[in-house]
């Protein structure tokens, strides 16, 4: 049995942009980079809880809208000089559909 859930079409996320995804318990930010990679991170900046889904996406990073911390989309790590880390969730894109696997994230959560 698979834990991958289809959540959106790729073209529902703007390139170099993001969408907020709500589950019953989580707020997740889905990012799409300039070369169509998709990442899912918890929608909460480790600094003061800013909504990362509202930030500007550039290369594989997002700049938090509140105080401009930069967060690596791949690892969830805050880029220097600030410190911190955001939970990431497993995502894949298959035939233009974005799938999310929350089970894989349990350990990180």
């Amino acid at each position: 049995m698979s834990d991958w859930i289809a959540i959106a079409k790729l073209n529902e996320i703007p390139p170099m942009g993001a969408r907020k995804l709500l589950t019953e318990t989580l707020e997740i930010a889905l990012f799409r980079t300039g070369n169509d990679e998709v990442f899912a991170l918890r929608d909460r900046c480790p600094h003061r809880g800013g909504p990362l889904s509202q930030g500007i996406v550039h290369s594989n990073a997002v700049s938090c809208p509140l105080h401009n911390w930069k967060i690596d989309l791949q690892s969830g790590e805050v880029q220097g000089p600030d410190d911190g880390c955001v939970n990431t969730y497993a995502v894949k894109v298959d035939e233009g559909v974005v799938y999310l696997n929350l089970a894989l994230a349990e350990s990180a959560a």
Partner: protein, 817 residues
């Protein structure tokens, strides 16, 4: 190898700072558990004074929220004090019966307020000033009672007294000595301080020794040694602190006035370290955070087993956090035999400065009224600089060494890079300037976040702001044409603008390719700038790129700290009808807007709106004729107007009507930075036109046009551009000036620094001397406005960019099964 266990006793400023420093060095080394006696996560104790004074809330002063502990894998037990340490079995025991073993233990139990053990000292209504509970109790008393007595005229006592006064209490400060803050001030400075506090309503009883606290089930007064009495419903004891060594003593650690530690902050038990106010190091106990933070750094170094840090004691300096009072002192400021003193006294202006000198070196400093140079003197003191060559001007401050008369900003600009700006966190000027320029910081908060400067007691906020202003300003002035837009390119703003026009470049992709941008899709600093330049130059052709807009401009509202947005409908010239107000009221009701505020820009702000609600709200507003107020954008903001000739007995022209016309002309236009206008009906200038980007002051014979002013971080008064005679001319000159700025300024350069960079005479030449050029500028402005004056709210209310406002949903339960 399994992780070692570290236990911290005392969840306060020094202990938690040590843990923070440790996590920076060795995040994985320890399994960390923290026990705190208070029920709160770590907060900024220093800020209890502003909380008491009503200037901050408890929430504002939390330093590490519970999430921080969780995120760093730290187990936090609040409200559960440690009651015993067993050094043999290496365990601690808490009040609730918890026992836990440690490999290393860190003591940071702080200190307790000293309560004078006179009869009655245990009565309800007698309180120290140390923690949130004390502050809550004082605030509660202030609501119910009238008279407060503060025993102790030191730093804490005066801050408590000031706070209680702000809460409406009638406050008397009782002090044993004949001068206030005798440990930080000399007599003349203390007198100035006392006079200024007395003027604000504080009462003083000097040289009074408390004998007894009177009362039965609550205090009702204080009696003194000489038999006199005074009424009191609340008594705050602020006579000093005692290191909290109880636990350490019980555990058999060597204690004197504090827990004795060596230069590595180790106690006599090598597994136990101690930091903070509970510590005695080389015979000194400290009661200010700066030295404690230095200790924290060294202690963390040893906990991380790096083993090279040494703490060798600190020289401290003091500031008082009473709004409106500036005082500073450092070192040994009471002269002894053989010392020389330099004094500057200007009683009329309430300024006093004294330096104590020995062998041409500063030993101590006291300043009152003008403390700007405190930082500089403190640096000279610590570095033991020989001052003989500038000794005769030293009291006039550091700016006097160079050109004088440019205010604070030049003075901080003159400081050397290693001058300490933030004493609490040990942050130097160089660190701050670096952070501002390399990371493109624009606000005080950003500087705080990146450097911690001014994040503790906040008394250096002014200096940091001046640094912000001078660094950003200098950036423009020093090498305007050479500075690269950001790290993604070597090209300067001017080169990019030039290329967009001449290549020509009409899309972001073309621009990246043509100018060999290093990062494939730029960064959050350059993309908004490039988007603006493309839009400003090719208004009809360039397709605006939402993903290159900062969220406020993408969502057409201001993002708030909790992720909600604000909605500010445009009110042309600040005029409105009863119907407009009714619509706003209805919208506020319908969408349950949590807060409504009249803004400084003469219109109404609806705060706390959820992003999903924005389009629906805009629909109602646009239906009633409102358009976006662009309060969120690098765009034309407001036109402030005064009553003018229609009503005011001094009005010379129809300032409101002209304001409306100007706003109708300019609304919707995107700008390099925010752009504000105002029209005042006469030189009394009630609309503050002379601190606006474009201001009009009406006079009998016409209209004075002023440019390049702003309030904000660095206030700049406008320059007079010219005088014109008709309203039509005002509109034409305004449009032309606006367009010149839109075409030539750098992104994020407001009119004030721009006018200073290109010079007023250049602007005059383009707008006044070149009539054909002016008309062409005005025409280009009007052409662009066709595209800019399509109300972004209306199109979104009708469905544009719908994805921006709608989150995706999944049903997790179904998904997981």
């Amino acid at each position: 190898m399994s992780k070692q266990k570290l236990i911290l006793i005392g969840n306060g400023m020094a202990g938690v700072r040590t843990v923070e420093e440790l996590l920076k060095l060795e995040p994985e080394m320890y399994e960390i558990t923290i026990f705190g006696a208070e029920p709160h996560p770590n907060y900024n104790r220093i800020m209890l004074s502003p909380v008491l004074a009503g200037e901050k809330t408890i929430d504002d002063i939390v330093l590490n929220n519970r999430e921080w502990y969780a995120d760093n894998g730290i187990t936090l037990h609040t409200g559960d004090p440690v009651v015993a340490i067993d050094r043999i079995s290496r365990q601690v025991k808490t009040a609730s019966g918890n026992t836990l073993s440690y490999d290393r233990l860190l003591l940071a139990t702080g200190s307790n307020p000293f309560i004078i053990p006179v009869p009655g000292h245990e009565l309800p209504g007698v309180v120290g000033f140390r923690d949130i509970r004390d502050v809550e109790m004082m605030l509660e008393s202030a609501r119910q009672y009238q008279k407060a007595v503060v025993i102790g005229g030191g730093l804490l006592g005066l801050e408590a007294a000031n706070g209680l006064m702000k809460n409406g209490m009638d406050v008397t400060v009782v002090h044993l000595m004949d001068i206030l803050m005798e440990r930080q001030l000399d007599k003349p400075a203390a007198e100035l301080l006392k006079a200024s506090l007395a003027e604000s309503g504080m009462n003083f009883l000097m040289q009074a020794e408390t004998a007894e606290i009177l009362g039965d089930d609550r205090v009702r007064g204080v009696r003194f040694k000489d038999g006199s009495e005074i009424e009191a419903d609340l008594v705050v004891m602020a006579v000093g602190i005692r290191a909290n060594t109880e636990l350490a003593q019980q555990a058999g650690l060597h204690c004197e006035r504090g827990v004795v530690v060596n230069d590595t902050l180790q106690t006599f038990d090598p597994r136990i370290y101690a930091v903070g106010e509970c510590v005695q190091h080389r015979d000194s106990c400290y009661g200010l955070v700066a030295p404690l933070f230095e200790q924290a750094k060294v202690c963390a170094n040893h906990l991380a087993m790096l083993g090279y840090g040494r703490y060798e004691g600190s020289v401290t300096s003091t500031k008082l956090k009473v709004t409106g009072i500036d005082l500073f002192s450092a070192g040994e400021f009471n002269e002894e035999e053989g010392d020389e003193t330099l004094v500057l006294q200007d009683p009329a202006q309430g300024i006093y400065k004294k330096l104590v000198i020995w062998d041409n070196r500063i030993k101590g400093a006291v300043m009152y009224g003008d403390t700007m140079d405190g930082t500089w003197y403190f640096q000279l003191l610590r570095e033991e600089t020989d001052i003989s060559c500038f000794r005769n001007t030293i009291l006039f401050g550091q700016h006097d060494l160079g050109d004088a008369g440019h205010g604070d900003e030049t003075r901080v600009a003159m400081l050397s890079d290693d001058a300490e700006i933030c004493g609490c966190n040990g942050v130097c000027k160089g660190d701050i300037v670096n952070a501002i320029s390399s990371k493109g910081l624009f606000t005080l908060d950003e500087v705080r976040a990146h450097t911690k400067a001014s994040a503790s007691c906040g008394s250096c906020t002014g200096l940091v702001e001046s640094l912000l202003a001078s660094t950003m300003g200098e950036g423009y002035a020093a090498t305007p044409s050479e500075k690269a837009v950001c790290a993604c390119t070597e090209h300067s703003h001017d080169e990019v603008i030039q290329a967009i026009r001449t290549a020509p470049l009409k899309s972001m992709r073309d621009l990246f390719d043509y100018l060999n941008w290093k990062a494939p899709d730029g960064c959050s600093a350059c993309r908004p700038a490039l988007n603006y330049y493309l839009l400003a130059n090719w208004p009809g052709e360039y397709q605006d790129d939402a993903q290159s807009r900062f969220i406020n401009e993408r969502a057409h509202g201001n993002i708030q700290k909790d992720g909600t947005y604000s909605v500010v409908p445009r009110m042309f010239g600040g005029l409105c009808t009863a119907n407009d107000l009714r619509t706003i009221a209805d919208v506020a009701d319908k969408f349950e807007v949590p807060e409504i505020k009249v803004t400084g820009g003469q219109r109404i702000d609806l705060f706390g709106v959820k992003k999903e609600q924005l389009p629906a709200m805009w629909k109602d507003l646009t239906a009633a004729g409102f358009v976006s107020g662009h309060a969120y954008g690098k765009a034309m903001r407001t036109v402030k107007t005064c009553a003018g000739k229609t009503w005011c007995r001094f009005g010379t022209q129809n300032s409101t009507g002209l304001g409306v016309q100007l706003e109708e002309l300019t609304w919707g236009s995107w700008m390099p930075h925010k752009f504000k206008l105002a029209v005042s009906g006469c030189p009394r200038n009630c609309a503050e036109a002379t601190i606006k980007d474009f201001g009009v002051v009406c006079v009998d014979s016409g209209y004075e046009l002023h440019i390049g002013g702003n309030g904000g971080i660095k206030v700049r008064v406008t320059d007079l551009l010219c005088k014109v005679e008709t309203e039509a001319e005002v509109l034409e000159y305004c449009g032309a000036f606006t367009q010149l700025y839109r075409e030539e300024a750098h992104y994020l350069e407001r009119t004030a620094p721009w006018v200073e960079r290109v010079s007023l005479s250049y602007v005059k030449q383009r707008i006044l001397e070149d009539e054909v050029g002016r008309k062409a500028l005005f025409e280009r402005f009007q052409y662009g406005q066709q595209f800019a004056q399509i109300d972004p709210w209306r199109v979104r209310a009708e469905g544009a960019e719908a994805h921006e406002f709608k989150p995706l949903h999944i049903n997790q339960m179904r998904a997981v099964s």
